[in-house]
């Protein structure tokens, strides 16, 4: 896995494609230590070699360059990552959501997003004599 400066994100993929990495595998994101990182993998089918690249998304702008001009197959992945993590892919022409009905509300895959179903359903494992919460359930979720 190679860390890439966000400024060079799209250029790096252009360079890789020129080197023979013609096959786009996947692109997604994850949240770690309060920061969102975008990760993508491309392959060189001839040499049977792959490269895994990761970059930090700008915390304030929540934006990163789209690689869809280099790898058109990444459009679907970037659309999904955009709607699930609230990331703005600069240069991505298609911004339609895939699974969400609208972009209103918090992106579901951020750790700060609570799952309302888990908040509203009583946890069957709640002990009677002490306070315990299951994973992903917080008390002050309405304020969150």
């Amino acid at each position: 896995m190679r860390g890439i400066d966000p400024v060079n994100w799209a250029d790096e993929f252009s360079a890789l494609q020129a080197q023979g990495y013609s096959f786009f595998d996947f692109l997604t994101a994850y949240e770690r230590d309060g920061a969102i990182e975008v990760i993508a993998r491309v392959l060189d089918p001839g040499r049977k070699h792959s490269q895994l690249l990761v970059t930090k998304v700008d915390t304030d702008q929540k934006s990163v360059a789209s690689i869809s001009r280099v790898y058109p197959g990444s459009v679907w992945h970037e659309r999904e990552t955009a709607e699930m993590f609230g990331i703005n892919f600069i240069g991505l022409s298609d911004n339609r959501p895939l699974l969400r009905r609208s972009m209103i509300g918090r992106p579901p895959l951020l750790k700060s997003s609570v799952l309302a179903a888990r908040m509203l359903k009583p946890w069957p494992g709640q002990p009677s004599h002490r306070k315990q919460q299951p994973i992903g359930v917080v008390d002050d979720w309405l304020q969150a």
Partner: protein, 165 residues
């Protein structure tokens, strides 16, 4: 053995749907269109591969199904919509459309945990928590996924209920 209903999962309107006989009850015919919402859909293919559902000659097709139905005491062809898989909110309108396009009499079978209640995705913000929130379900088949044998058991349960009512 209760006899004589012709059950047709999904729709005669859609080309590519195939008709099958239930091996456990040869008077029971089903027509299946694989909606392929999620992994549960594979179990239908598995039921065919295991010989639990036997394909009816394409040349006989829908016409023969109707003839089979008319020859029975029940007479009516009940069409079954088999919903197997995760119903995301984005896909829910398509399932509703498939249901509304089916002609009466019809029955919906919910196959697997996702269609039954949302299953493993019960807490997901983008998943419908059970297809019965959208359409009336006649029989719920449990499993994640249910076995192919459970599909047959569910179809037999629909038949039994239609005979009873």
């Amino acid at each position: 053995m209760a006899s004589g209903n012709t059950l047709m999962p999904v729709t005669a309107l859609v080309s590519g749907a195939r008709a099958y006989r239930v091996a456990a009850d040869p008077t029971l015919c089903v027509q299946i269109l694989d909606l392929g919402l999620a992994c549960c859909a594979l179990e239908v293919g598995s039921a065919i591969a295991a010989g639990l559902l036997v394909e009816i000659e394409q040349s006989l097709g829908i016409g023969e199904l109707a003839t089979v139905a008319e020859g029975t005491s029940q007479g009516a062809v009940t069409t079954i919509l088999l919903i197997s898989g995760t119903i995301t909110d984005a896909l829910a309108p398509a399932v509703l459309r498939a249901w509304s396009q089916l002609s009466e009499p019809k029955a919906a079978v919910s196959f697997g945990a996702c269609a039954n209640t949302g299953g493993p995705y019960w807490d997901a913000p983008t998943v419908t928590k059970g297809i019965d929130q959208l359409i009336p379900v006649r029989v719920y088949v449990p499993g994640c996924p249910p076995r192919p044998e459970a599909l047959i058991a569910g179809l037999l349960k629909v038949r039994d209920e239609i005979v009873v009512t």
